[in-house]
């Protein structure tokens, strides 16, 4: 029944420094759910963004029903029948469901130039929700809906323009199991109506539940499209990761001395966390998005409340940790959002490099310019931060250099424990390697490091030991050299039996 076909032909997309998509040709038929899979940086998001008009392909073309699609905006993509529902919700919480559905230029039914036709608004809103077989009160305020219901509103909003293609970008990442079920019912409904549905997800269980076809991308290349019947998780994971060669570190700096211990730590995001970190150890935390990795670091560092359990640094309990207390004890946290929680972007590079060291550079109570310069230049030189003048504002630096500034700020404190959340996010390969080298050097000096990363290969390469988190709990612990990427991925998604 594939009379509609969405196709990409020889599509390539170049970004400065990387080839995000490399000559990809793929087609998606109607009346089916196509799961699009790939690890981070595989190019799946780029491909979706080309379909939805966010990016324009550098080479190649895309077509719908054999008709070439040429556009460079999401509005035009929408006009051509391609609607996208993004992971980040764009609902307006202080408006009602009906208002949310119909708001937007040219969509609001009007009585005349100035007055909204509310009866028509309600009729249309009701109609579209009935069409999707969704039971939500159109008068309810979106603020009062669950995330799952809000997600359905987004889909309903997309369906109002009567698209032929619906792209769902990780729609389930924030949903509970029962909410996922409801979403799937709606997706099934839409499939029956003959839409082409592209479904992007990280969760393999969902793929087997909802998808008819699976398309896998890796490093910008199309690996293949398979019917779901011909696949199992082992095969799928292999398609996603390929034959990964990873080189675990040969030298280890672990000293048999515990620097940090978590006993039964829990709050609303994590529960029963128990582990120990040794001196000179790099401990990795793996898990899917929402597994509680970042939340664990935040709780340990005192950014989030801890409801139960105890944190020990050097065998001494830290009562009610706060960032201030933890820093005094020699801890530092590198946030995954360096712009929001790492840097003061408007302040200079120099200011940011001593942000956590203001008292250290003021031995007599006032800032010693000499010591300040020493601190700043030590890190600029050692981390090879590329900056013409340390008085330049930090937002003038590239992502990699910004990350080095945050790291430099912590290294200046001569930390003994570092929490590093996604230290390699959004930075180039060279900077990434430099940062790993710094981590090895610090470990060699006896610093205990906890590293969270979504890049599993990275964890295997950098860490001595890896904890697996799922649903806010630690569900496994492995030495890095016992693991493969496939094994760690299966552990993260909790699919036993496919290791």
């Amino acid at each position: 029944m594939s009379d509609h076909i969405l196709a990409a032909e020889n599509v390539s997309k170049k970004f400065p420094g990387t080839l995000a998509l490399n000559n990809v040709s793929v087609s998606f038929g109607a009346g089916a759910v196509h799961a699009v899979l790939g690890k981070n940086g595989s190019g799946k998001s780029t491909l979706m963004k080309i379909f939805s008009g966010v990016f324009k392909a550098t080479e190649g073309s895309i077509s719908l029903d054999g008709q070439n699609l040429e556009y460079d905006s999401t509005e035009q993509a929408l006009a051509n029948g391609i609607a996208t529902v993004y992971q980040e919700l764009s609902v307006i919480k202080d408006l009602t469901v009906a208002e949310n559905l119909l708001i937007g230029k040219g969509k609001m039914p009007m009585k005349n130039k100035f007055q909204i036709n509310w009866n028509e608004v309600q009729r249309k809103a009701r109609e579209i929700l009935e069409y999707l077989n969704v039971d939500i009160d159109i008068h309810a305020y979106v603020r009062d809906l669950t995330v799952g219901q809000q997600q359905l509103i987004e889909i309903a909003k997309a369906m109002l323009v009567n698209p032929r293609v619906l792209i769902l970008d990780e729609p389930t990442s924030a949903l509970s199991d029962s909410e996922c079920e409801r979403l799937f019912t709606v997706v099934e409904e839409l499939k029956k109506k003959g839409l082409i549905i592209l479904f992007i997800t990280h969760r393999l269980q969902e793929v087997f539940k909802i998808a008819d076809y699976v398309t896998v991308l890796r490093d910008g290349l199309l690996i293949g499209t398979e019917q779901i019947e011909n696949l199992n998780s082992v095969k799928l994971i292999h398609m996603m990761f390929g034959d990964v060669e990873h080189h675990p570190r040969t030298e280890s700096y672990v000293v048999d001395e515990i620097v940090l211990e978590a006993r039964d730590i829990g709050n609303d995001k994590i529960k029963n966390i128990n582990f120990q970190l040794k001196k000179g150890e790099i401990l990795g935390i793996a898990g899917m998005l929402g597994a509680g990795r970042t939340e664990l670091l935040r709780a340990l560092y005192g950014l989030d409340r801890i409801d139960s359990g105890m944190v020990f640094v050097d065998g001494r309990q830290i009562v009610k940790p706060t960032p201030y207390k933890m820093k005094q004890k020699g801890c530092g946290l590198l946030s995954e959002n360096r712009k929001e929680e790492g840097l003061c972007l408007r302040l200079s590079v120099g200011d940011n490099l001593v942000l956590a060291n203001l008292h250290a550079i003021s031995p007599k109570g006032h800032i010693s310019r000499k010591i300040e310069k020493e601190y700043i230049h030590r890190q600029i030189n050692e981390l090879e931060i590329k900056v013409a003048d340390d008085q330049l504002p930090t937002n003038s630096l590239s992502g990699g250099n910004q990350q080095k500034v945050v790291i430099g700020n912590w290294l200046n404190t001569k930390p003994r424990i570092l929490f590093m959340d996604e230290p390699s996010r959004g930075i180039d390969v060279h900077a990434k390697q430099q940062i790993f080298n710094v981590m090895y050097e610090e470990a060699a000096k006896g610093v205990g490091i906890i590293m969270v990363s979504s890049e599993l290969e990275e964890l295997l390469e950098v860490c001595d030991r890896i904890l697996i988190m799922h649903n806010g709990q630690i569900t496994g612990e492995m030495a890095a050299d016992e693991l493969t990427v496939e094994a760690i991925y299966s552990l993260c998604i909790q699919e036993e039996g496919c290791v």
């Binding site: 929680e341 408007r346 302040l347 200011d351 203001l358 008292h359 006032h366 800032i367 008085q391």
Partner: protein, 328 residues
């Protein structure tokens, strides 16, 4: 933070306000008789001193990304309270000098506590400082009116007047105090971990907290300092009037905030200097003084103040644009 030494090439843009100030000064000296005389310059300095003292601390508040609208009412509250305490102590048998010497520190402490309360609402209950200090503004004015029961309270010892209208050599006493506060606050903002933390908090409170800066404590201190400074000014103003009047200090908050903004501080936090604030105060002082000398109606001063703020913001954003154009 250190816009004054971002780069040596940009010296002219960095000294823009000072250059304009100088041009204005020369201009007024030419067109207004008596403008450029020792007496008049001292007059200008005296006129900006009271608000200037508060502006020093308001700079810290604004750089940290907060605002304090309550300072004007605190001035009135403190003036009335010190006069009232003085009066009841004298009625209780103390001589006026002893009573005043006891009243002053008590009033300073009470106003500091008011600042502490404001900061607790801001940091613990996460109420925006605009709202908290808007409420405090009404509450303090009300308290001043209630204590005074509508009339100025008298009965200060005769020497007390010196605090408001005395001279140290040729220089008005309030100006001396203003100069001391400018120097101290400048030093704090430029050279201490505390000052640097204020910039960090204003630029990004989350990053600052993560770096181990005790954001709540620092905010508490600057709100306390600001209220206490307003308290001190209230005492000085009441000394000048020789009575505690509940109607003094009206519009102080707006004038003080205007001066800080004219000096280049950003209401979104992270930017602003004591040097800028000093310039901002002098700017307003010079223009209003020249207008008086030139015989322009008092009613125009509001228009001028408003125009000045708009002009200054335009200048500051223009300068920023220029910095960006040069790839900074």
């Amino acid at each position: 933070m250190k816009s004054n030494h971002i780069s040596k090439k940009l010296k002219i843009t960095n000294w823009l306000l000072e250059v304009i100030l100088l041009v204005l000064f020369v201009f007024f000296s030419i067109i207004a008789k008596n403008f450029f005389t020792v007496g008049n310059v001292l007059n200008i300095l005296r006129s900006i001193s009271f608000k200037g003292i508060i502006a020093c601390f308001m700079t810290m508040i604004i750089v940290s990304g907060e605002i304090d609208l309550s300072v004007g009412s605190t001035v009135a509250f403190s003036g009335v309270l010190s006069a009232y305490l003085n009066k009841i102590m004298v009625a209780g048998g103390l001589d006026a000098t002893t009573a005043t010497c006891i009243a002053i520190p008590i009033v300073i402490v009470i106003t500091a506590v008011v600042g502490l309360c404001i900061s607790l609402f801001v940091t613990k209950l996460k109420v925006p400082s605009f709202i908290v200090t808007l409420a405090a503004m009404q509450l303090m004015r009300g308290a001043a009116l209630l204590i005074a029961n509508g009339f100025p309270i008298q009965g200060y010892p005769s020497w007390f007047k010196y605090l408001g209208s005395g001279y140290v050599g040729p220089i008005p006493f309030p100006t001396v105090i203003f100069a001391i506060f400018i120097a101290v606050c400048w030093y704090i903002m430029q050279n201490t971990p505390f000052g640097r933390s204020i910039y960090a908090i204003g630029s990004n409170p989350d990053s600052a907290a993560l770096s181990g800066i005790n954001v709540n404590r620092i905010k508490a201190i600057i709100f306390m300092l600001t209220s206490a400074a307003a308290g001190l000014v209230g005492i000085m103003v009441s000394a000048q009037l020789n009575s505690g009047s509940p109607n003094i200090g009206s519009n102080y908050e707006m004038d003080v905030i205007s001066s800080v903004i004219i000096g280049g501080a950003s209401l979104s936090g992270g930017a602003g200097t004591i040097r800028g604030t000093l310039i901002g105060c002098i700017f307003t002082g010079i223009i209003l003084n020249a207008m008086t000398l030139l015989g322009v109606s008092d009613y125009w001063q509001y228009v001028v103040r408003g125009t000045l703020v708009v002009f200054a913001v335009f200048l500051n954003t223009m300068v920023k644009e220029r910095l960006k154009e040069r790839g900074m």
